[in-house]
Amino acid sequence: MSTIIDVSHVSKTFGGVVANKNISLTVEKGAITGLIGPNGSGKTTLFNSIVGYHPIDAGSIKYEGREISAMLVPEIARLGLLRTFQQTRIYGAMNCVENMLISMPHRKMRFLDAFRRNSRQDRERAEHLLEFVGLYEKRLLRSGSLSFGQQKLLEFAMALMNEPTVLLLDEPTAGINPTLINGLIDRLIKANTEFGITLLIIEHNMRVIMNMAETIYCLAHGELLAAGTAEEIQNNQSVIDAYLGAH
């Protein structure tokens, strides 16, 4: 396996708040990597730094060996590095199929392709992926009328439609009905094994992340606290302390 994302010594402050301090981590191509930590530990800030939402103060972020820390959000997205949002973001006024079709991989399109209509194959692919996440029945409904959990599934399907190389998922199971979570875990693993998408997942649900990720990084107070396999993290005393509030 080779390293696809290489975050090295990244720091980010907002005014006096140190959100990320000297963080280094790597994501291996084709793997599932987890990122955990208590609320406010800087996970989402790190995500935002990787996908270009804000400039970083120090350090470097490399994607496939290329420095991306100075690039803009859409540029990074067009490299095949995509993220989903903690608070789902879908186009609420459009139906599910339209949401899927607008998520076509624009990096693979030529200029004039924008002036075409979507082909039957595009439509079939959109419907196939909606079926994959279990939303086929709802494909023609206005996506804003779906439940939060369903919108989350739709956002995941939209990300898959974009054919990313790496997908950064910000709390994919938050707000999802516990009985649906197992199904979602299966789909995430399938996305990784069948579609070959590298995953970096922020997750609060320990059962979920421990079952999926080969490598887990734990942040606390903006710093990297521990890194290792699920088992190593579970037995790490400082991780337990961080979650239970000891300092």
Partner: protein, 350 residues
């Protein structure tokens, strides 16, 4: 009759009406031409305002600029523009028929192209602004342009500029201008109908619904925004050019860069008809034009009050405009599907 046949019949009737309207209502030729102008500026305003979510209050800039470009090109092809405007009609500046029509064609094309290019340049700066800031920024451009042009003697300054007169009688001039506006309007409508059905249309809708998400999905958002505004500016510029030939003489502040008249009317038309719909701006423009002509003719002195009341009522009670209101009530007419449960919940909440 199938649905498709009905559709074609409907379009055929509209085309037929467009062609024969000036003969059915010969007394209203100028009104009908102005109606098409309203439709053009409303549909183009909706391209950015309704379909892309960028409410420009400065599209009138392209109208005024289109007028001036057309005038400068038409005159400049034959005479020195500075001398021509300096004489203010005092010199002998005749135009042959050929010179008139060459100027009309080249001037109109140049107006469209120049406006499209200036939209690209302005957009590069202004699309960094969002929401009300974009609206105010674009308004600033239009007002500033009017002031600048009114102090630019080469194009006649505050006195404005005069174009050659149509080589023919008064009635055929009216008819000619009507068909220019109507032709441009029909081409524009076919163009946007096609555009909104392509991926491009979906992309600008995505920018309207959630631009940050669109960026995160890798859309070339700035490119889409610039292209949309440029296409819109092209048609407004062409409409401005035709207006220049219609009015013959125009001046910068009240006619060309008329921010509080046409600059606001185009927005009201779209709000009235329904933002972000294909037919909304067209229907809105027709309703608005009728409303305006009725109040301006029969309630003179109160016309601005009536217009203000119309704007307030639209904004407070019909925020989605006529088409939006219909879409909300009868979503199945627009090919949308709503779950019965949602429909019941919606009806219960009303």
């Amino acid at each position: 009759m199938t649905m498709a046949q009905k559709k074609w019949l409907f379009y055929a009737l509209i085309i037929a009406f467009t062609l024969f309207a000036p003969f059915i209502f010969p007394a209203f030729r100028t009104q009908l031409a102005t109606l098409w102008l309203m439709i053009i500026v409303a549909v183009t305003w909706d391209m950015t305002g309704g379909q892309m979510g960028y409410n420009s209050l400065g599209n009138i800039f392209f109208y005024g600029t289109g007028m001036y470009v057309a005038a400068v090109v038409t005159i400049g092809l034959v005479y020195d523009v500075g001398e021509y405007t300096g004489a203010a009609g005092g010199g002998k500046y005749a135009f042959t028929d050929a010179q008139y029509f060459t100027g009309l064609v080249l001037g109109t094309i140049a107006a469209g192209v120049f406006c499209a290019l200036s939209a690209l340049v302005l957009g590069y700066v202004l699309f960094g602004l969002r929401g009300p800031y974009f609206a105010i920024g674009t308004l600033g451009v239009a007002i500033a342009a009017g002031e600048l042009v009114s102090n630019w003697d080469w194009v006649g300054g505050g006195q404005g500029i005069a174009l050659p007169v149509f080589p023919g009688d008064f009635d055929s001039a009216k008819l000619f201008i009507y068909y220019l506006f109507a032709g441009t309007g029909v081409v524009l409508f076919i163009f946007v109908k096609w555009l909104y059905a392509t991926r491009f249309g979906a992309a600008i809708n995505a920018i309207r619904d959630d631009e940050e998400k669109a960026e995160a999905m890798g859309l070339h958002t700035l490119m889409y925004k610039l292209m949309t505004w440029a296409m819109s500016a092209f048609f407004v510029g062409v409409a401005g050019a035709i207006s220049a030939f219609q009015l013959i003489h125009f001046e910068p502040l009240e006619t060309a860069y008329q921010t509080i008249n046409l600059g606001i009317f185009m927005v009201v038309c779209v709000l009235l008809g329904g933002k972000g719909t294909l037919w909304g701006p067209v229907i809105g423009a027709i309703l608005f034009h009728i409303f305006k002509e009725v109040t301006w003719n029969y309630f003179l002195g109160w016309q601005w009050v009536a217009l203000g009341a119309l704007i307030v009522i639209t904004v407070v009670y019909f925020q989605d405009g006529l088409m939006g209101w219909l879409q909300h009530r009868k979503p199945e007419w627009f090919g949308m599907r709503v779950e019965k449960r949602d429909r019941l919940a919606q009806e219960a909440s009303e």
